[in-house]
């Protein structure tokens, strides 16, 4: 898979997961790298930017094992950004599908 494609979509994937429930960083990294081949280290800078931009907030929660975990929770701005990205993505894939699945009428 093309690397540029993967990076562009990473933002959409992370926001999408966060609309479903709160995640801690490791979980997000683990989940995403099961599906797409990226360096685990790319997710944390993205999460930090989301926080600076007000898309997510963080809170610490104790866990049974190891240190307290930093959870990421999506905010309204983040949901809005997700909605916009999703629309762009769907439009993009629809257009590509039109080309690859459609008949060639010249």
């Amino acid at each position: 898979m093309n690397i540029q494609f993967k990076k562009g979509v990473l933002e959409l994937c992370v926001l999408s997961l966060l609309t479903k429930r709160d995640f801690y960083g490791y979980e997000l990294v683990e989940y995403i790298s099961q599906h797409v081949d990226i360096s685990d280290g790319t997710i944390y800078p993205l999460l930090r930017r989301f926080r600076v931009d007000g898309y997510v907030t963080t809170y610490l929660q104790e866990s049974q094992e190891g240190p307290p975990r930093k959870y990421y929770k999506i905010k309204e701005d983040g949901r809005q950004a997700f909605k916009e990205l999703l629309e762009e993505w769907e439009e993009f894939t629809a257009r590509v599908n039109e080309i690859i699945r459609g008949d060639l009428n010249e």
């Binding site: 990076k7 930090r48 930017r49 190891g66």
Partner: protein, 188 residues
């Protein structure tokens, strides 16, 4: 590379950022190492999966510079963000730098034209008004013509000036967006 080495290289790469921010960033990676270890991965495996700590540090630094240029818009902050982005090896930036400088030149030109129009217009109005007081000066056109041309020219100049101002703002945002986009694409 073990955890200690990874964190050390990351911290070195982050120097220059506020201390609290560095601590916050390092927390994420320390947490990542601890959770990974508790799942039975070795430190070396975790470090390898994370990627190059120096590259990771650079992407934080560029991100911080872009955010700063967004929050406090100024030419020097924009240039700092551009330079930081170049250290990440954005080769396409070189291809973009030419057109970018061209656009900057165009903007300067637009400002020049606007100011020229305003100055010309004002000059036309003022000289028409001043002409009666200087018997030696003769203006070849009717005062109403020269005043209306002056007013029109001034108004056009002001409009162009406002337009150039918005265009500058728009291009500023566009440049930052472009840098962001590069950052998202290349950090592997």
């Amino acid at each position: 590379m073990n955890r200690e080495k990874f964190i050390e290289q990351l911290r070195d790469g982050l120097s220059g950022l506020p201390e609290s921010e560095i601590a916050d960033i390092l927390y994420d990676y320390n947490e990542h190492f601890e959770i990974g270890s508790s799942k039975g991965k070795t430190q070396e495996e975790i470090a390898l999966e994370l990627g190059n700590p120096q590259t990771i540090a650079k992407s934080y630094r560029v991100n911080a510079k872009i955010t700063k240029a967004e929050k406090n818009p100024s030419p020097s902050n924009l240039i700092k963000a551009l330079l930081a982005a170049m250290t990440l090896g954005f080769f396409n930036l070189i291809f973009v730098l030419g057109p970018f400088l061209g656009v900057i030149g165009l903007l300067f030109g637009l400002y020049g034209i606007s100011i020229g129009f305003v100055a010309g217009g004002m000059g036309s109005i003022l000289s028409t008004l001043a002409a009666p007081f200087f018997s030696g000066i003769h203006i070849g056109v009717h005062p109403i013509t020269s005043i209306s041309i002056g007013t029109g020219l001034t108004a056009l100049g002001v409009l162009l000036l406002i337009g150039s101002f918005y265009l500058t703002k728009f291009l500023y945002q566009l440049t930052l967006k472009y840098l962001r986009w590069n950052l998202d694409v290349i950090t592997k």
